[in-house]
């Protein structure tokens, strides 16, 4: 039997890597992927909880998260494209016309 904490640790590690990617990468596509990583890490832990708690809620939530993630992807990428049309860049630190 795999202990629950292993899953949790895996989830934590992936989550942290997602955070790392979010704050360090310039390319917003990769940043977006980092967010997906974080969502996946949550999904892993949710699925694990669901399994160990013998509860269905976790699985439902994972399903819904995936749905939301898809929606997010659609909108996020649309926003990126909209931006790109005006200023051809997708580098995080170049999208900083407003500051202060």
């Amino acid at each position: 039997m795999v202990p629950l904490s292993w899953y949790i640790m895996l989830s934590a590690v992936v989550f942290s890597i997602g955070v790392l990617g979010f704050v360090t990468r310039r390319n917003l596509i990769i940043v977006f992927l980092s967010i997906e990583l974080m969502l996946n890490s949550v999904n892993i832990s949710l699925a694990a909880f669901s399994h160990y708690l013998q509860s269905m809620t976790g699985q439902i939530l994972v399903f819904l998260v995936i749905a939301v993630a898809a929606a997010e992807a659609a909108i996020g990428l649309a926003i990126l494209i909209a931006f790109y049309k005006n200023k051809p860049t997708i580098m995080a630190d170049e999208i900083s016309f407003m500051k202060g």
């Binding site: 904490s5 955070v19 990769i30 996946n40 160990y52 809620t57 749905a67 898809a70 909108i75």
Partner: protein
């Protein structure tokens, strides 16, 4: 170590490694491809956790739809010229520090996470007897009807949003 544990160890290490690859690749296309591999691994983990339905959704929606969307967008944006630029923000050491701190905190806090509440009704046997799909369906359309409906709204918004944002308008 038991066999499941070895299996898990493999997946854990691979997923971690893939995650790192995703966030470090210069070329976003590579990142997306590594992500694909990662998603498949995660899907297997879902199977491992008796979540067949999720595994399927993971492959179909995530790997099949979302990542393809990513690839299309990457192609659309034609960002080749940026491949030669810096990969990381100037603040990357701070990010690394945050990462390290997160790791430390998580390990310290979540190291021996246990399940406290008693087991619920959806034991492996119960699910097996009904079939995973059936169980999920019943719960989803019963108890979680409202969230499901909201999710539909969210998807609708996503469609409208995408259209509003990128559709060519008749000026």
């Amino acid at each position: 170590m038991t066999l499941p544990q070895i299996f898990f160890a493999y997946f854990a290490i691979t997923i971690t490694g893939l995650s790192l690859l995703v966030v470090t690749r210069r070329n976003p296309v590579h990142g997306v491809l590594w992500m694909l591999v990662l998603f498949i691994h995660v899907a297997v983990l879902y199977l491992f956790l008796n979540a067949d339905f999720l595994a399927a959704v993971q492959i179909i929606v995530y790997a099949g739809a979302v990542l393809v969307l990513f690839l299309i967008v990457i192609m659309l944006l034609d960002i080749r010229k940026e491949e030669s630029e810096r990969r990381f923000n100037w603040t990357w050491p701070a990010g690394l520090l945050a990462f390290a701190a997160f790791m430390v905190f998580f390990i310290a806090i979540l190291r021996d996470f246990q399940v406290f509440p008693g087991p619920g009704q959806y034991s492996i046997e119960f699910i097996k007897s009904q079939g995973n799909m059936m169980t999920v369906g019943k719960v989803l359309y019963g108890q979680y009807l409202l969230p499901f409906e909201i999710a539909s709204l969210i998807l609708l918004v996503a469609i409208i949003g995408a259209v509003v944002l990128v559709k060519k308008r008749a000026e």
